[in-house]
Symmetry: C2
Subunit: 237 residues, 2 copies
DNA sequence: CCCCATTGTCGCAAGGTGAGACAATAATAC
DNA sequence: GTATTATTGTCTCACCTTGCGACAATGGGG
């Protein structure tokens, strides 16, 4: 296999994405496993020379998930020299039969711009890329050890998500188009890591003016059927 | 003069700082003027190969202001290809009698990590660097036209500052060690761009628990002398 | 010595939030 | 067909915060 060249990509610069999904009352993220190394990391990539930084992150997300119109937001750029671990990248390349010179740009220091995305878990079919065996969902408290500083990146993504949850009411981007109030509350509880009070939550959400109430559903549960809601303006940041 | 080389710096990567100060009831920022070009821009610089990204921004701030222990926070990374304007950097270099090849890294695309700083206006003695004639304070509504996308960077810095103002009560970093409640209110009003109610503001600030009240001052004003306050924990983000 | 602008504080009304209570209801059990 | 049960939509109450105005205190100017 051929190593990417600096004719196509900007050297020293990368992006990494923390892709959040919601399933089984838990917040999960996409983690990829590098070929034959048993090493796990956030999905990321490089920036083409003729490509906007934000477009690069969006392209990477599309390649990995098939999704395009998603909530995607840049939140921090990690640039410590301690991120630099030449042995790791060397191992990844070696496992894929890519040989590079010892002064190759891939083995040099990288600054990475981190993004987080919110997507509807059910619509994603994760697709491994050329270097990875798999890309799978992991609950936040069951992550495998991650390469580089990716665990710190995940933590900071979660902090940012919590802050934006109150500010922009972004929680809905993790749900399918139609959902119940209880499902929405579960999303909020998963993100914040704490139980919320049912009636206060319902009151607040309705007051936000961002929900449109639909007809009742009659799904086979043995109790009063809840309303279903839809979001007005599933827009981007 | 000698152009910086990629042996020392990472190519394609820069930082820019929006340095806020408060004077005359106005929010101001530091703008530098490039030598002999009449071009204005945010103070910024490059990242050394052996230097943490955040340390680079801090170093630049120290070189320009002489200050070290300041509130400095990264807020966004600008990476559009449209930022790239080879003619501008060429002009700056030419004005300083630096000649470079047409494929020199300084003339290529740059991604810039933007920071904002909050400093005590009175303690700063702005110092121009090798490429700049001057570095001066400008009120936000009296900025000269800025190079590249620096006006957008300023706007976004202001938005971030406003958001953090409520979240972290950072306003105090713009004041000298001792200040009155009225001065603090003026800072908040300048940042938010709106009048605040005196008694509510005072109550909120006192309730935050971050202020220590000192003895009265008797400065020669013809009215009741106000208390002075000091901040507990002028810490960094 | 009186005046006046400013300051510190208090009180009230309006609005938001936590917490519990109550009736409504859809499927299941009988 | 009727009772049961879990869940849902809504209401109420207490509490806290916030906007807004009022009031007394006070330090220098005239």
């Amino acid at each position: 296999m051929q190593a990417p060249t600096t004719a196509t990509y900007l050297p020293h610069l990368a992006y990494d994405s923390v892709v959040f999904g919601f399933s089984g009352d838990q917040l999960k993220i996409l983690i990829m496993e590098y070929h034959k190394t048993n090493w796990f990391a956030l999905p990321g990539g490089f920036v083409r020379r003729d490509e906007n930084l934000n477009d690069a992150a969006r392209r990477g997300l599309r390649e990995r998930t098939g999704l395009d119109e998603v909530y995607l937001e840049q939140f921090y750029t990690f640039g410590d020299t301690a991120r630099f671990r030449p042995g790791v990248m060397e191992g990844i390349l070696a496992a894929n039969d890519i040989s590079v010179a010892s002064d190759h740009w891939l083995l040099d220091r990288f600054v990475t711009v981190a993004y987080y995305a919110l997507i509807d878990y059910n619509t994603v079919v994760p697709r491994p890329d050329a270097l990875s065996d798999s890309i799978n969902w992991y609950a936040l408290d069951e992550l495998p050890p991650l390469l580089f500083d990716h665990e710190e990146i995940v933590q900071r993504a979660l902090v940012t998500l919590r802050e934006n949850l109150g500010k922009k009411l972004v929680g809905m981007n993790l749900l399918p188009p139609l959902f119940t109030m209880k499902e929405l509350q579960r999303v909020y509880e998963a993100i914040l890591g704490e139980k919320l009070h049912r009636s206060s939550f319902q009151r607040k959400m309705l007051a936000s003016g961002l929900l449109e109430r639909r007809e009742k559903r009659l799904s086979g549960k043995a109790h009063k059927a809840p309303y279903q809601y839809r979001f007005l303006s599933k827009a981007n940041p």
